[in-house]
Assembly symmetry: C2
Homo-oligomer: 211 residues x 2
């Protein structure tokens, strides 16, 4: 069975950077927005449309080309969301079957539970996340602190709703993860090296992280 690491993360915590660095350290595949792009190709949905659906903000007027997976019978926002999620799940599963990989977001921890992934959750204090967002230019430069805080909270609220909707579990509840990392105090580079060492030291017959 391939080694699969799934990463859930709070917006601005640096979870994606940990994922990229970890994949580099281990020389394995890294998936993030690629999932959406791949999905967009398969369904003939435009990427923008998929993103809107993922954020649970269906945009009925958005022009789409109906792809092979869609029939005229399945056109409600709910059905479209469900189809997109099931398409996405099958792509994520293919990825896990193809090679060792790191997958960020997308409920991959839940979708791939049969693959015994190492499930990480990355979080940080609000001040750290705000500073990082400004440093990385992940949000508009002219946002006030108040607006930036609101933005961070709202992105995470959407992630939480999305995760809860498709998994029935609480996003960020530590019992759903193997390791929770606070990047306020743990340096991202070190965390990646550390985790790579832990993963390398593992053989499929051992406990962590193939029970």
């Amino acid at each position: 069975m391939n080694r699969v690491i799934t990463i859930s993360r709070e917006f601005g915590s640096g979870g994606r950077e940990i994922g990229r660095r970890l994949a580099e350290e281990l020389q394995i595949a890294y998936y993030d927005n690629e999932v959406v792009e791949e999905l967009a190709k398969k369904t003939n949905f435009t990427e923008e449309y998929i993103k809107r659906i993922e954020e649970q903000k269906p945009y009925p007027l958005f022009p789409i080309t109906i792809g092979r997976t869609f029939s005229p019978m399945t056109n409600s926002a709910f059905e479209q969301r469900t189809l997109v999620f099931s398409e996405q799940s099958s792509i994520i599963t293919q990825m896990a079957q193809t090679s060792d990989c790191v997958i960020v977001g997308r409920c991959a921890d839940y979708i791939l539970h049969e693959y015994n992934p190492l499930r990480l959750f990355v979080y940080a204090d609000m001040d750290f996340k705000m500073a990082r967002c400004r440093e990385k230019g992940e949000t508009q430069k002219d946002l006030t602190d108040k607006a930036l805080r609101r933005k961070i909270l709202s992105v995470d609220k959407e992630r939480s709703k999305y995760y809860q909707f498709y998994t029935g579990q609480s996003w960020g509840e530590k019992t759903n993860y193997d390791l929770c990392l606070n990047t306020t105090t743990i340096e991202i580079k070190k965390a990646a090296i550390l985790l790579a060492g832990l993963i390398r030291s593992n053989t499929p017959n051992e406990k962590f992280f193939f029970p």
Copy 2:
């Protein structure tokens, strides 16, 4: 400043074993019940009495020798608990000032926040904790599964109440820790080696874990 690692843990999760192994790996001091013993010596309280107070179950009829820190004016259960906690806090602070160390439980993460400790929380699934309790003989052999589950929950409930009472924070809430480890899937030996590596790689001027 000395390197201080504090460990909070769910009953049966193996947090104490991680602490012991980590201290061995790093060749630094390890404190656990020693704190209580030391405290008992200082206050002339018997150990048993201190333990009862720590569990927030004062036992007024228990014979005690009044120690130097106690006056006839301070005899209510509440005042005694508070005195014991403040004695304990000063001992824990002395320990952190004396040398690098691992301290398990006792709200040390909160008491020592000025020392920028690495704050770990160790947890596991109930089935894992039950199996481990039986394996380690940490509870009576003849307990039914139902009784064992109740015992585990009640110990953690006491820990949670104790932590909340003295720190005003939620016990086990991941934002209060730097790293949360699920020993259901992460092998304790490996976790200790991993953490030791992370700590060794750190110099006081770097971020983790001396921000």
